[in-house]
Symmetry: C2
Subunit: 431 residues, 2 copies
């Protein structure tokens, strides 16, 4: 084989699949000069042949049998762009075992079965690359594995879900409430018909699991990640945050502390001067702290047909370069450590609490007394009158406290008759 033409199969011709098809077409005239070979999509697995035929120049490449792709010895690279666990997992494993290189954008799958897939790739001396699985078009996996390899990464933190960032941006800039902002996101195509995975933080958590595994060289899976979504955020929380010099962002956070890895997704108050606070609309960004590089941030489109395809094709081209140089599987799994993941209860945070309380003397004393019992001190406090007679609203920012202790304090506080309602509990970035 002279490798002048390298044949690839696409599994899936949805948004990203169509994007990859387009980007490879666009690069056709330049590919050989750039990477030494031409990549040809010689088969595409689709569900609906008729619908798919409108998207491709030559519909003879379409098939609805995956076996044809996996068993064809002429196909060298399999590009998996399906959604969910199965049959994606079975197809990828079969492809790897058949000695094919695989590119995948399937974060759901990789966040759970990443180890199995990377081990299968290693056992078969082939590449399994997944740059597109985190933050769409933004280069982050390869920079972490290569450019920043000289660092001990202590923190990876990002806005890794465009839908929720769009919703929070509208709530911040236009004063919208969550439901209205979600409706707008759906109308504009930023949110899916069932937005659960986005607004409940599941999508972000998958990315956090993958990012943490790559950054800390220790496997973190979806189930390890503590998750809170943005459905309970109100425009009032955002206004109070602004008064305190902060924006509210849904952050995916992975930290390497001395006693283990912390991994969570939740809305966080972040100082408006922080570089991540300037990331608005559906943009994504991943912020990395390493002992040598200090702070570095990667910003761009976290989703979309062509941006995600950009990442997929970057991986495909890298595999082509490996094939030509005979160095497949040049960089495989980099999880050579086993670091425990901490329980959320054992992590430390500052908290933003918004409470509806009785408007009478002694209520603030109630709050401070209970907090003091659990060694929670108060850093900032705002009390305002409300429209309800006899009721006031109190907003507190605490100092740093262990989450488990904080939860106990909050439970005790909730039992006090003077506390009518706990409207919000959010975490605050920084010590």
């Amino acid at each position: 084989m002279d490798n002048k033409v390298i044949k690839a199969a696409l599994l899936g011709l949805g948004t990203v699949g169509t994007g990859v098809y387009k980007v490879l077409k666009n690069q056709e005239s330049e590919m050989e000069a750039k990477i030494g070979s031409k990549v040809q999509i010689s088969r595409i697995l689709v569900r609906n042949l008729e619908k798919a035929s409108e998207k491709v120049e030559d519909d003879s490449v379409l098939t609805n049998s995956c076996d044809e792709n996996i068993n064809d010895p002429l196909i060298t690279i399999v590009i998996e762009l399906m959604v969910g666990m199965e049959p994606a997992r079975t197809y990828i494993l079969a492809a790897l075992r058949a000695g094919k290189h695989v590119v995948s954008a399937n974060k759901d799958l990789i966040a759970v079965h990443g180890r199995e897939l990377l081990e299968a790739a290693e056992a078969n001396h082939v590449d399994f690359l997944f740059e597109a699985a985190v933050a769409g078009g933004i280069p982050i996996i390869r920079p972490l594995k290569q450019c920043l390899a000289g660092n001990y990464i202590t923190e990876v933190m990002g806005i890794v879900n465009g839908t929720t960032n769009f919703i929070l941006t509208r709530m911040t800039q236009d004063g919208m409430e969550f439901q209205d902002a979600l409706a707008l996101a759906t109308e504009l195509g930023y949110a899916e018909a069932d937005p659960t995975a986005d607004i409940e933080g599941l999508d972000a958590a998958r990315k956090v699991a993958i990012l943490a595994s790559v950054a800390f060289h220790s496997r973190v899976v979806f189930d390890d990640v503590y998750i809170e979504g943005i459905t309970k955020i109100s425009s009032k929380d955002i206004r109070y945050a602004k008064e305190m010099g902060c924006d509210i962002k849904l952050l995916g956070v992975a930290k390497q502390a001395e006693d283990g890895i912390e991994a969570y997704v939740c809305p966080v108050l972040i100082p408006s001067t922080h570089q991540l606070a300037t990331v608005n609309d559906s943009y994504n960004a991943v912020f990395v702290h390493g002992d040598a590089v200090e702070d570095v941030m990667f910003f761009g489109r976290g989703a979309g047909e062509l941006p995600t395809a950009s990442a997929v094709v970057g991986d495909v081209f890298d595999i082509v370069r490996n094939i030509r140089m005979g160095c497949a599987a040049r960089i495989g799994c980099t999880c050579y450590k086993e670091i425990p993941v901490k329980k959320m209860e054992d992590t430390y945070h500052r908290y933003f609490i918004r409470l509806q309380v009785e408007d009478r003397p002694g209520v603030l004393a109630d709050i401070t007394t209970i907090f003091a019992k659990y060694e929670v001190s108060i850093a900032q406090i705002i009390q305002k009158e409300t429209k309800t007679p006899g009721s006031a609203e109190v907003v507190v920012i605490t100092s740093t406290v262990r989450e488990g202790d904080f939860r106990t304090a909050m439970a005790e506080l909730g039992n006090r008759s003077s506390i009518r309602k706990t409207s919000s509990v959010l975490r605050v970035y920084g010590k």
Copy 2:
């Protein structure tokens, strides 16, 4: 050779050299698990043996003869961290010809002799990597060559000089004048004793040449880059820019237009809402636009001992992986096109002009008449009284016009007796 230990030589033990030494020491225990081999600094070329001996654990590695490094067959990687053209160029060429891989952070050299160095590497089947030459610790060369390889990049634009960004930030946030901000930068160690290369834009221009070459696959050298520094910017310009919703940043810009490449460094008015406008102090950022990925930005520390060392060590580790897999020179020179670089006169911009004029009727008519003759239309105009009797200050933002035509119009305008002084001429980002 089992490649368990890979020996490297450091040429230079200044700020970055010391950083590389430290980062490799820090990674010692982890290196083998990460990249399969240990990298050992077995020789360091220094000028002053005595001074250098304080910086290393074992001073037997120090030498002031470069020949010892180049001729030692046990040394596989040469890390060049000197400054300026010679003897760096001679040393690197000798190392490459001796079959050694080279990592360099020498932007001065690469912006002029990049082609020669990359060709020598290719001829000798070795790697020549230079991630640290642009924007310090920020991953940008590898992301452009690999992650974004599926794109036609049309624009690379960045804040690639930390000294000038610090100065402009102080002028913007504290209302300082240039000379005071420069003095502060010198005091804090952000500016060198001779700040010329920074404040006149030469340092940024070297990075633009390298970025353009990598992004557009066509060699752009230092002499191709049009350069203006920031020495003429006053806090007044910055205040007017703010009134017009913009910040002033020293941008390095490389664009690929249909008729050629544009490459220049100059202070630019950029909308305060643009992601680059939020990059302050000594931080750097590179903004890239590609046909697939759309907008993506890379942000971080553009200089400094450890951040720059992070990039150097990333390159060293990549070379180790190549050595172990037998795929040296996996990605070499990617300039497979020859695209002309346009003259600055032939590029199109909007302009910000600040003029001191006679305060009498007809002056604005003078300006608009001359501009109209050269098809320069006016997008925004502000006129203010000044302290000088009979004098007024006029600030104009033009529509887009060819630079050559604009210069002719400005020359003609300068001859009018009603125009007392042209205080500032700056370019404005966007159409």
